[in-house]
């Protein structure tokens, strides 16, 4: 049930009035005083009943409304536990560093996050890190206003409490990250960034998935490249922090000649030149060197997959969708070219049976889930991760990389609008559940 919050403007005595039913099961309120929380703000109030209130209304005195920064334009869920009436949810979407980053265009795109607003209610607030006032526990931002007149952008500017939970879509500095993490009691996701090397360190420890990620070393010199080539026949070097295909080289070796390949360019280098090349490359950027994975190819084009892993109202990991990409012939990466739904890719292109397609799909999801849980066990809070996955010739699943800020629009590349909406709304479901509110 959703509640309207009324304010008694002539009362400044920290009071909350509730309909009689509200005291009964499941709440069982029998104290004279309760706490009322809204986002991260909390006040103490004297509780009483009022016969004039509808069963879905409560009334607070003006001082309480002010102290909580209550927004009265929307309806809320009310939860009662541990002597606290919680009004909410207040969900934050941290989408910018500066206040100016929150443009009309960005707000328009953010509307996809609000598709299921009617199931959740409360406040969905878009804000920037500049808009956060830690001292007073408030943020400046834009809340979704479902009652807004049509044709108008339904976001209202205002000041709100720091949210119950925050979906963070930008990279934050350590200070702000830790600050928000502690204020929200770790209800901020994806809270922390990890680079390719940290990923390897975390995941390779676990025996059940360590053979589903390519063997990785930090690139300190050509010796590391040699080590990988001796072991695996060839090697890839990648910037430790890069995304997509930027800065990736494939290095082969024949006798004492090295072949460096980047996209479609290749150059032959002697050992001395190669050494120099590597030393130059790692001068101002950290790199890793990795075991190559021979992806399954069809007509010389290899295929890889984006597995979208998200948490939803269950607070558990699940797969929202899998998109497959086919690379251009001879290209070492496949971040360009044809995209297909997983099922079409495996059945249509790989000519696998329905049953095998299903088994591979489950296996892929299972491995991604295990990795998600390893990442969770670091104590950070993740809820929205994009896995770059390939199948090798034996149809073994390899996870090449995990993206912390995945493109939500990937399903649109294959025309799957329904999955796109699911990708957009799952983090909101998760955020509501994190804050202790219900979606279903």
């Amino acid at each position: 049930m959703n509640y309207r919050i009324l304010v008694n403007h002539s009362d400044n005595n920290s009071k909350v009035l509730v309909p009689i039913e509200f005291l009964h099961a499941p709440n069982e309120i029998n104290t004279k005083y309760v706490f009322i929380s809204f986002g991260q703000r909390k006040v103490k109030a004297e509780i009483d009943t009022d016969k004039c209130l509808e069963c879905n209304e409560i009334m607070v005195s003006k001082d309480i409304a002010d102290a909580l920064y209550l927004n009265l334009e929307v309806e809320y869920q009310l939860k009662y536990d541990k002597n606290t009436i919680r009004i909410g949810p207040v969900i934050g979407l941290l989408l910018g560093l500066k206040k100016n980053d929150i443009s009309n265009n960005l707000l328009k795109r953010a509307l996809n996050y609000t598709l299921l607003y009617n199931n959740i209610n409360g406040l969905i607030v878009v804000f920037s890190i500049e808009g956060v006032d830690y001292e007073n526990g408030i943020i400046e931002g834009y809340f979704f206003n479902p009652k807004c007149e049509k044709r108008q952008l339904p976001w209202g500017k205002g000041v709100f409490p720091i949210p119950n939970s925050i979906f963070q879509r930008i990279t934050l500095d350590k200070y702000n990250q830790n600050k928000l993490k502690s204020i929200t009691q770790n209800c901020i996701f994806n809270s922390s960034y990890f680079n390719k090397w940290e990923f390897w360190i975390m995941v390779s420890r676990c025996s059940s998935v360590k053979y589903n990620i390519p063997y990785t070393r930090i690139l300190n010199s050509l010796d590391d490249v040699d080590f990988i080539i001796n072991k695996y026949g060839s090697s890839y070097i990648k910037p430790i922090n890069g995304t997509l295909a930027q800065g990736i080289y494939k290095i082969n070796k024949h006798l004492n000649t090295y072949l460096f390949k980047k996209k479609n360019k290749a150059q032959k280098l002697s050992r001395k030149q190669a050494k120099e090349y590597i030393n130059n490359t790692i001068k101002d950027k950290k790199y890793i060197v990795q075991q190559p994975i021979e992806a399954f190819t069809i007509d010389g084009r290899h295929m890889d997959f984006r597995v979208i892993m998200q948490k939803d109202y269950t607070k558990e990991w699940m797969c929202t969708g899998i998109i497959s990409f086919t690379g251009i012939e001879g290209d070492i990466c496949s971040n360009s070219g044809g995209e297909l739904l997983f099922e079409y890719a495996l059945e249509g292109r790989l000519k696998l049976s329905r049953e095998s397609t299903f088994i591979i799909k489950q296996n892929m999801i299972d491995i991604c889930k295990k990795i998600c849980k390893i990442l969770d066990s670091s104590g950070e809070n993740y809820g929205d991760l994009g896995f770059d996955v390939v199948l090798d010739k034996n149809l073994r699943v390899w996870v090449l990389e995990v993206n912390k800020r995945q493109y939500h629009s990937t399903p649109l590349w294959v025309g799957d609008i329904q999955t796109f909406y699911a990708v957009k709304t799952n983090p909101i479901k998760y955020a509501a559940a994190l804050g202790g509110f219900t979606i279903y």
């Binding site: 269950t314 558990e316 299972d366 329904q418 279903y440």
Partner: protein, 444 residues
């Protein structure tokens, strides 16, 4: 810690002993144990514990006496979990398929379970199909067929009581209580509410009550007359009916009363002069329920409802695994596909037939899921152990949602096949095993 997968091998040199590699023991946090008990299904046995160095970390040795008394098949891959002094090997999941036809398991049922175990790698342990006539209650063992993933077949054998039993048939109270005493509340779907119970339970629930059609038990023809005066159009359905069999729509038009129903896959219409004698002819007292007829959206003369497949997963959360629109046969009073209708995914129906935009289709789908979740959590609160539900939801011409029916007695997943959505079909088939795994003590 991640769930450890292990193989079990026999150890002949000692009695009552389990041998776990030191590394695995450390990961399981039991490396200081000297004694423990091992369990498989409902069987348990005390063991001495040894942790040698340098073995294979995924191989666990059990002395042959324990292996035999716990009846652990050696051809399976297991998970191992620790709960205080218990070393759980499993899962051990049962599918109770028949009361008294053990022979039929091999002949008839095994084939139909082939697709349910496609996802065996995610479930592991023993999946056993059995029937009541080969349950040995005094020794607490069952005879049944266990899936062997290596040979991809089902092997006959004797097993302990599984800790989770997916019940596909009705069983007596005596059996129910027997299983309860031995394995606990591990029997699901343990209750099949009939149409009357569903109505009487939900009619007082704030959020749901305005979304269920007004209903009454048929005791005499006066009940039909009363409901007909109230609603002009009503349904009379067998309380225990399935697949739309025996459903009659009664409408009052001018001075006539019309009975519409399906017979031999055809639509029948009968103008009734004497409501009393017609009612007594058609319906037996206390065996039928009278329901207010809802003006559901229809598609070119077919009535449409949505079969929502709700299942609990390995984390014991309800998940909606499919919503299928069922378009009844033209002019039919029921939408059941088995009664001549067709099916497509709800999203396709919303887009193609209701002409909704992608966005509105998504929002409507989520609204329906939302509503189903309310019902599922109520059924949980009522104390039923359900893992699989088919909820039939109708949409009326104002867009309001109605609960038409709850199916907990093996809701037929083949419905999704009609809608050409085979991957979710496999998902639906394996979901009860995932739920079973979690209630057998191997929660994801």
């Amino acid at each position: 810690m991640l769930n450890e997968q292990i193989k079990i091998s026999p150890y002949k040199k000692r009695l009552s002993t389990i041998i776990i590699d030191k590394k695995l023991a450390e990961e399981l946090n039991i490396s200081n144990k000297k004694r423990a008990f091992v369990s498989f299904g409902a069987k348990k046995a005390f063991v001495d514990v040894e942790f040698p160095l340098g073995g294979l970390s995924n191989e666990v040795f059990l002395s042959t006496d324990i292996l035999t008394s716990l009846r652990i098949p050696e051809y399976l891959t297991y998970e191992i979990r620790i709960d205080k002094n218990e070393i759980k090997i499993g899962p051990c999941i049962g599918i109770l398929i028949s009361n008294n036809r053990y022979e039929n398991i091999k002949k008839r049922y095994i084939k139909s379970f082939h697709s349910s175990v496609l996802d065996y790698k995610g479930i592991l342990g023993a999946i056993i199909i059995f029937s009541l006539d080969r349950v040995d209650a005094s020794n607490q063992i069952i005879e049944g067929y266990c899936y062997n993933p290596i040979k991809d077949n089902w092997e006959a054998g004797i097993f302990p009581y599984p800790l989770a039993i997916y019940k596909r048939i009705g069983i007596s109270k005596k059996w129910e209580n027997h299983f309860l005493s031995v394995i606990g509340d591990g029997l699901f779907n343990n209750y099949y509410p009939n149409k009357c119970e569903v109505y009487s339970w939900l009619k007082d629930e704030k959020i749901i009550s305005s979304h269920i059609p007004d209903s009454a038990i048929y005791k005499s023809w006066n009940d039909i007359e009363y409901m007909l005066t109230k609603y002009k159009s009503i349904y009379v359905k067998p309380i225990w009916g399935m697949k739309g069999i025996g459903v009659v729509k009664i409408s009052a038009a001018d001075n006539d009363i019309i009975f519409n129903y399906r017979e031999n896959s055809e639509n029948k219409e009968k103008v009734v002069k004497n409501l009393k004698s017609a009612s007594e002819n058609f319906f037996a007292p206390n065996r039928y329920i009278i329901q207010q007829s809802i003006e559901l959206i229809n598609n070119k003369g077919s009535i449409v409802d949505l079969r929502c497949v709700l299942q609990k997963d390995g984390t014991q959360n309800w998940i909606c695994n499919a919503i299928i629109a069922r378009l009844g046969a033209h002019g039919s009073v029921v939408s059941n596909v088995s009664n001549g209708g067709e099916a497509k995914t709800a999203i396709d129906f919303f887009r193609e037939d209701m002409l909704l935009s992608e966005k509105d289709a998504f929002i409507l789908k989520e609204k329906i899921i939302n509503y189903c979740m309310e019902i599922c959590s109520l059924l949980d609160k009522y104390g039923l152990n359900l893992g699989v539900l088919g909820l039939d939801i109708g949409i009326d011409k104002e867009g309001k949602l109605w609960l038409i029916e709850i199916n907990s007695r093996s809701p037929n997943p083949a419905i999704v096949l009609r809608a050409n959505d085979i991957l979710s079909y496999y998902n639906i088939l394996s979901a009860p095993l995932y739920y079973g795994k979690s209630i057998a003590g191997f929660k994801a």
